[in-house]
Every structure is written in structure tokens, then in C-alpha cells.
Amino acid sequence: MNSEIMGKLEKIVGRDDVLVSRLSLEMYAYDSSPFIHLPEAVVFPKSTAEVSEIMKLANKHNFKVVPRGAGTCLSGGAVPIYGGIVMALTKMDKILDIDIVNETALVESGVINLRLQQALDPLGYMFAPDPASQKVATIGGNVAECAGGIKGVKFGVTKEHVLGMEVVLPTGEVVMLGKLAGSSLSPNLMGIFNGSEGTLGIITRVLVKLTKKPEDVRTMMAVFASLDKAGETVSTIISRGIVPTTLEIMDQTLVKAVDDFLNLGLPRNAEALLLIEVDGHEIEVDSQIETIVEICLEMGAAGYKKAENSEERESLWLARRSGNGALGRIKPAYMVQDITVPRSKLPEMFRLINSIGKKYSITIAQMAHAGDGNLHPHLLYDPADQEEYHRVELASEEIFKAALDLEGCLTGEHGIGMEKLKYMSLAFSEDDLAFKSKVKKILDPNMILNPGKVLNFGPDTLKGDA
């Protein structure tokens, strides 16, 4: 990228908000995925107008642009794999309006999820999507990746909480969509930006739906002699008309690792641990949790524990949250998958994953947002052992195929990014993929916005460092 373009970028966002030094570029070469590639510059726009200017410039001079929020994508969405500039939206971080009567909030896309929650909390509201990264991830990133989270079973995923967007198209035009459009009858194609992974446009503002904070919450844990039974219990609870906010399953490998790590006194001989949380009105949560206890026992739970106070609740959650860190005690690294299957297929999927692990002699620790059929099998390996890593890759592919056979999908909340590009053809027909490509080409004729993600355009030169 030549100095003329740099000069123009500096003119748009100001000299301080363009980084070009070698080491600064190293700092924006990665996200939370294993992929790494250096950008040629990093810019920090402060307004929609600046974003639009940059996109126009990029089209004129044909350089690539990769939008970035907090850089917590697990599938490589924020990695500038073909170079170009990284556009960090972290400076567009204002909460512009909170409208309690309409139950909406208008935010710039760089607002951190947690900051919005903190602003809403005293008003008795929340923004329902709560991905694990919510303390640092931005709303724009949540929307672009269609973030899930542990409350997904009751409140759904991010796209169900977005009412309007302001988007800068890859060619630089600014469009107001959904409830920001000022028209409630005209076509509203806002939906295509949900989970578009920053490839169809740059989301600059989001009008989000607010959800009333529940009055009360009850948390419990039940242990089962098999993953199967835990999975069946999940389906049974929901088919009886109770929709908990959380239904998390951990397998024995994880339970043991966490217990070694934190000494919580977890039931180490249990094959599966199910963490359940219900929320709602004060007067109904107790009877709901009682019904769930009955169902668990009916399904053969070996034991259960209800949290009697907030401290006990915290300790039940601690076990769930410490999973990732605790696995480091077994093997130095892991590859985590994100397949999702219809809820009733959970027991079968658990079984299949276990047998795939055995087939390739690798340890797979299973945890799942079971309520919405979203599994996170952690395939453990040692980066120094190339051969083991290869087996992990083979096992992953087999897991994908198994999930698709069960009418599931490749990824529930982490995104395709670069990580799962090569598996897209397993999941979609040629026509399906061609239609997706067509839409991308219509909106981004010069292929400059976040190329190499979701769909495979250009040379296959992806490089990982795992």
C-alpha cells in the first residue's frame, strides 16, 4: 500500500488513528482463532462518515478492508488473511439512546456488550445475547457473527434481538435498515447482515431490542450415569413446556479436569453433569425447579443439588466457566468445534463424538449448550505432536459429517470464518453456494471487504500457527 493511500487514510481518520509501524501491525494480525496474517495498516474510524470514506477509497485503490471489534472471533473473522487494512471499530463506542417505552437501545457498533448491560441493569432491562466473550466483545461483532451464548435456549441468538441497523455497504453507501429505515412497509434486507462475518457490509449502528430482566432465578445441578441420559433429560424438560434459560452439559473428562483445578468436590465418577437455570417471576421459579428435579429423577439422575443462595449459585457456575482453563491440565492445546444438532439428536451426537475420539485415539472433552443442541467438543492435543494434530483434524471432519447427517450444522455460534471454509461444500449444494456467492458479488463487486471468509474466493493461502 503506497504512501499516497496512507496519506489519504490519515486525512480521513486523523494521523493518530492510523497505525503502520511493524509491531502495531503484529498486534492486529490475529483474533482468538489460530489464524494470523499481517495487515498493511490499522485504522480507527470514529464515525459512519469516516467508515464510508474509507470504503470508497478502498474501492478506488482496490485495497482490502477487514472490520474488527474486540478481535475475539474463534473462526478467523477478524484476521486480514489477504492483507489490506484492519478497520478497528473500538472507537465507535457510544450508547446513543436507551428508549424504555419502545424497549430499544441505539448503540454504535463498537460498544462492548457488557457496557450496554451495565447501562441497562439499573433500568430493569438487559440485552439478552450473552456470549462467553460478552465482557469484551462488541455489539457490532455480536451481530456480525450472530453470537449465541448460554441463555440461547430461552432468549434465542443475537439476530432475534436486532431491530435496526446502519450499515456501510462494501462500496461505501450508507443504508438504514429495519426500524431505523423510517419505513415499515418497504423491503427490509437487514437480516442478511446477521452472521455475515463482516463480509457484506460494515455495521456501524445497531438498534437492539431490550428484554425485561427476570425477577428471579433458580440454579441446580444434576449428575447422570451417562451423557445419553443427560441429553434425554434436556429434551424431556423442554417438551414438558418448561424453557430454562440454561441447560449446560459437561462430560466426565471436563468434570474431572475442573475438579482437579478448583477442588470443588464435584462428583468425579459421574459421566455427565447437567447445569440448569430457570428464570422468571418470583412466584413461579420454585415450582419450575421442583418440576425439573422430578424430571431429572425420573430420567435416572444419580443426584442433584439446588443452589440455595447466590454463593452456591456462583460455585455451580464456577465449574462450568473454568472448563477451558482446566483442560490445559490434560493437554497443552485443544481444537474446539461448534456443531449444532436438533435437540433430540443430542444423545446420539454425544455417542458418535465419543466413538470418533476412540477411533482416532484422542481425548475429546465434551461440553454443550444442550438446550439448543449446540455442542462444543474440545479435541485435545499437543502442538509439538504433528501426528496427533493430524488425527485431531481427521476427527473434526468426521464430527462435521456426523452432525450434518443428523440434520445439524457446522457451526452454531463461532462462524465459518476461515476455519470451516473447506467444509462448506459438505453442508451446501452447489446452487446454495452459488447463490451466496452471487449476493456477495453484487454487494462487493471488487471483493475488498473481508475476503477469504465464509466463502472461498481467491487463492487458498490460509495459514495457521496452531
Binding site: 509501524s21 509491531l23 503484529e26 498486534m27 490475529y30 474486540a70 462492548i112
Partner: protein
Amino acid sequence: MMTKVLKCNRCGFCQDVCPTYSVSKREYDVARGRIRLARLVTEGSYQWGTYQELEDHIKSCLLCKACVANCPSTVLTDQIMMEARAKINAAKGFSTFHKLVYRGMLSDQRKLRRISGLARFYQHSGARKLVQGTRILGIVKKLKRMEAILPDLPQKNFSQQAPAVLKTLVKPKYRIGYYVGCATNAFFSQVAVAVTKVLQHYGCQVYIPEIQCCGGPHQSAGDFEEARRLAKINIDKISELSVDYIVTDCATCGSTIKEYSSLLMNDHEYARKAIHVSSKLVDVNDFILNHFEISNLNPVNIKVSYHDPCHGIRGLKVSREPRRLLKLIPGLELTEMKQADWCCGGAGSYCFTNPQSSEKILDLKIMNFQKTGAGILATSCPACMMQLGYGLKNHAINARVLHPMQILLQAIEVNSNENK
């Protein structure tokens, strides 16, 4: 270092708790970025001591451990940063500032006393005005900044006051070695006086060992060699005492001494001695709260907010104790500020070496304090006290910084004229 660095899977959760990131919003100012830099060097892409930028990013870390406490993969960023600094020192040699202040002053109690004596003379005589008016002080920027941050020094340091304060008790309940750190001794002798008096009030025989700097500042700057030398001297001095506990009022000294054994890991004899020393070491708030019945206190009608020193909450793991102690004082209203456990930006000599970042982090802290409406900002670390005092002065806020022991002493002393 490689193993420690590899543990980072770049989840980025450190962005939430990193004070330097909160003010700059740049990836090189957060643990994930710094660890990435360390990894690039360990993998051979860059060399320590080549890029000034590399050094800046490594040195812009406060070592506040907030990321460590919140890391799902328990990456020890503070240790990695200290080791990285040691590597930079090895490649480039020590900075002038380091040689002058750390090895020159802090490493030698006698020199430190002489220099602080001079500084005191400078502050109290007319010389200050004279110098400030001219440009003599501007020669070294960092020293100039030091000039601004240093609190008004007491007339006498604690070593000079000790003989008058120390009492011999007939039947002491405990025999206490009181570790008076450099900053407490030179800048906050009133804290040391308060600690001594409080301990004596509860029936402790207090001994003041002649120690050296704990070596904490040296470690932070990546000078492990000097830190080990100082640690050994201190271990010997402390081991000579026959006491029940070693009490400290300084979170940094306390947590440094606690970790002597890992610093001296390769020296079996001293590592063993260090474990013994560390088993006796206790934070003064913790000690008082858990060994005595605190009653019959006079009311002290003030509103207090407590700032957690990084080395207190995440080093010594002391944060409830000072609060519980303060709550026992009748009339005292304890109010929590937002982000009470965030670094104040002082971070030892960070306030001198990284003034811009330090100021912004301090502003955040002062703003949070101001919102509580409290008149007293309490904390248990002289380095924090220095930084916070400077912050209050700078923002012209009518409030004072006190160590909990100073407040407790007020509540103990019947004729305290501080009592409103």
C-alpha cells in the same frame, strides 16, 4: 518463558480488566498483545533490544496482575513481562534511570536516606521555588515528574523517629518484626508511627530489623540479579529475629517477600529460608483483625473509600480484611468506589517512566473516588498513597489519603485531635 507464553490462546478476555487498555484501546496495550510480542521474540521473529516500540509495549505494563486473576488459561503475564524486561536489559544494558534510581538509590538504604534528606531540605527550604522557577530541574524529565509526585516529606524519616516511638513491653502477647519498607520510612513515616503504636496498643513487642529494599522495584524492572542480592540480605536479617510474625504495611514489600522462595528457586538453602520467612509474613490489617478483639474504639466520623493495591488484592490476597477492620470503627462510613481493585497507575516507578498512561489511569481512579463523596481515600501501600495523593492534589479534591492503620490509631487514641 516459551511454555508460559504458549498458554495464551488469545481469547482477549484481558481487555475487560487491563487498565492500560482501558485508556488507550490499543491491542499492544493489553496482555494478549504483549504476550503475542513475547511469543514473536521467543520464536525468533524479533530480537529483544532491537525495536524501541517493542520495549515500550513491554514496559507499558503495570504488572497489576488484573489479567492474571481473570485469565481462563492462567497466563502469568506479570512474570512474563518481568522476564522480558530482564532480557531487554541483558541486550541493551540498564537505563540511566535504572542505574540512578534503582541500583543507585533504592539498593542502598544509607544512600536513600541521604538523598531523601536532601529532598526534604529541598522541599522545606526556599530552594524548591528557586529551582522550579529555573530550568535546572528540567534536565531529566523523569526527575521533574518525580518532583511533582513526591508527597510533602516528613521532617524526620521513621528510622530517626523510631527510638522515641518504640516501647518495651513487659509481657507482650506477640513478638513482631515490623518490616518498614523504603517508601514508608522515607515518605510516610507517619504510617510507620501509626503501625507501631497500634501494634503496641494491642500488646505487641515491636522490633524493627535493619533491612534493605525488598527488591520489588528491581524485579519489576527486570533486574533479577539485584533483586536476589537484596532478597538474600533481607532473608538473613529477618531470620536473625526471633519473632512470631513479620508484619508489613506495604502490599508491594509484602507480596515480594512472600515470593522470595520462587525468586531464589535455584538456591536451595535460601529458598528454604525464604519459605520460613514467608510463612511468618502477614499484612498488618490481616494481623490486627485476626489476632485481637477490636473493641472500645472511639468514634471517627468520616466517610472512607478503600483502594485495593494490586499487590494487596492479587499479591497478598488481602482485600476484605482492611474493609472489615475499618467497619469496626464507630462513626466511620465505608463506601465502595467503582473499580476499587483497579491499579491506580502508580505501579512503583511506572508513574515516572510512563507518565501519560499513568496519569490517565489515575484520572479514572480519582473520578471513581470522587463519585463516592468520601473524604478519606484509604489504602495499604505507600506507593499507591503517593500516587493517589498526587491525584487528589492535581484534581484539587478536598480529601486525604490515609493508611487504615492511621485511621485505626485515631480511633484508639483518646485525645486524638483529629477527632471531629
